[in-house]
Amino acid sequence: MRDTVTAQTGFAPPSAKPLLAAAAVIAALVLLPFVAQAAGSPATVALATRVLIYGIAAASLNLALGYGGLVSFGHAAFFGIGGYTVGILYQHYVADELILGLFTGSNQLLVTLPAAVVVSGLLASVIGALSLRTSGVQFIMITLAFAQMIFYLFASLTAYGAEDGLIVRRRNELFGLDTRNDTVFYFICLGVAAAFFALLSRIVRSRFGLVLVGLRQSERRMAAIGIAPYRYKLAAFVISGIGTGLAGALMANYLRFVSPDMLHWTKSGELMIMVILGGVGTLFGPLLGAAALVILETVLAAWTEHWQIILGPLLLAVVLFTRGGLQALLARLGGKP
């Protein structure tokens, strides 16, 4: 299912190779917990869960950033708001109090995930509608500014833990499954990720997706064929925010904790790193990028407390010397067996 924006599969017959590759990846992901168990490395499951969650967030960011050319430096806001939706619903569920006197709390994943989707979608509509009136460096900075506002807001809400954040004592429930079990939770995340990537792969090939990629290449051309850019960019920004919020909700469940850390501007930076590590404007690149960054962090952190001193230059090298990230690298390697 390799898909690059520039792929020119107009009416060439669909090749079996990408489908096989996708099947192999899915099989590997399904088997992973069992292999990890057999290999006596249960921590791998937790690691893979984080990769999946960050993969969803990074792929969402990539829809705006890679496909749409909208360089958002504020996606931590959506990641965090998704997490806080879970945290706040849980707190009110435990305390049995209404939220703003209107909603009841919940500990059901089937409630909290859609709630996170709605809340992050609303936030992205507001931030996007305002930010998209600017472009270029101003867009980067105004998205950062909105994210900072959300950060300081939650860092000062003592009702929700302020700087200390909220503890979600138990993961949300789903169909009576034992979500406390990391393997079970891994499969939940895998299911969400599979559904999400399936949807995303359709979106980027759809009429909407082509318009979005067209807008990145030349807004002037798109206007000249009668396409008003703003609405499409806004829609892309909102979808992107929703996906990132969904990932945030999963992350709050995974960590059983949510704090302003999820809203910090460095989180926006990390998501961007995943996108560029994996390959800007590619469907699965961000998942690869998330895997690379999460694994690299884990490996380096086990080695030295000052792992960022290695990560920094490594990242710098990737930005300066590779074009198209890991996805392009793999494609190049795959092209010459």
Binding site: L130, V137, Q138, A145, M149, A155, T158, I276, L320
Partner: protein, 304 residues
């Protein structure tokens, strides 16, 4: 009344610090088209170098050149090794590459000096307060910062409006391609501008030492506010950076000083304090959002 005046002076002092950083940042962006997130790292390097020099020698007079030299050298190295390769890249690459630099610089400083903040004492000659108005005694050191900042502003004004290099800088900030076409050694101009920006950042850092904790992360905190300044003032405009810095400095300081008190009159308890702190931190970002929505290119750039 005196309290307000005192806070205004604090705001002015914070504003000129922001200006020192914003001037470099806005020129680097205006002329080279590079978003340099690592500009705050130069500020941190200046602060650390000065703090350590002051600690070793006990003399602020040694600390000043040490801070300037460290920031200047780090800036030149940064330009030569990294920034130079980013001129032709898009904003995304620039953001990420300079983000990577932040990680590197922060960890290096942590490795060398640890996580404990360093404290620098105010140089004896500038210690104490003077009564600038009846019943308003104000620290001499802060007044000195304001004086230095304003002097730099005047100096930059003269440099940019009265010299040949200034003419190139002005032209470069608005018509980058034209300057290239004139056959000017753009590379040299870039290096000079970047070096100047680094020196100013270092100057801000070394002056910040005695009034703020010198610690890892100090760069990013002020950097994001500096970006607010640059965007509010208008990217590439020194005048915009100056007035933007004063606006942001004063607004931020006044909000922090007075908003919690105002909130306390509405509600009570620790929640009001926390919320007040949060809301006052949000203030300048709100200001920036409003400015951008009204004038998408900033206050001091003519909207084309």
């Amino acid at each position: 009344m005196t309290l307000l005046l005192e806070q205004l002076l604090n705001g002015l002092q914070f504003g000129v610090m922001l200006f020192l950083l914003a001037a470099g940042l806005t020129l680097i962006f205006g002329i080279m088209g590079v978003i340099n997130l690592a500009h705050g790292s130069l500020y941190m390097i200046g602060a650390y170098a000065a703090a350590i020099a002051a600690e070793r020698t006990g003399s602020f007079l040694v600390a000043v050149p040490a801070g300037l030299a460290a920031a200047g050298l780090a800036g030149m190295a940064m330009e030569y090794l990294v920034i130079r390769r980013l001129y032709a890249r898009d904003h995304l690459d620039q953001v990420l590459a300079t983000f990577a630099l932040i990680l590197f610089f922060n960890q290096t400083v942590t490795l060398l000096f640890g996580r404990q903040p360093l404290f620098v004492s105010i140089p004896p000659a500038l210690n104490g307060s003077i009564e600038i108005l009846p019943e308003l005694a104000y620290p001499v050191y802060r007044l000195a910062i304001i004086a230095v900042g304003l002097a730099v502003a005047v100096g930059l004004y003269l440099l940019i409006n009265r010299t040949r290099i200034g003419m190139l800088v002005r032209a470069g900030a608005t018509h980058r391609d034209m300057v290239r076409a004139l056959g000017v050694d753009v590379r040299l101009l870039y290096t000079a501008v970047f070096g100047l920006g680094a020196l100013l950042a270092g100057l801000a850092g070394l002056m910040a030492g005695p009034i703020l904790a010198v610690q890892v992360g100090m760069g990013e905190q002020i950097l994001i506010m500096t970006f607010v300044v640059v965007v509010i003032g208008g990217v590439g405009s020194i005048r915009g950076a100056f007035f933007g810095a004063l606006i942001v400095g004063v607004v931020d300081t006044l909000l922090r000083a007075f908003l919690p008190g105002l909130l306390r009159q509405l509600t009570t308890g620790p929640e009001a304090d926390a919320l007040g702190a949060g809301l006052s931190s949000m203030g300048i970002y709100l200001l920036m959002a409003v400015v951008l929505l009204v004038r998408p290119k900033g206050l001091f750039i003519a909207n084309a």
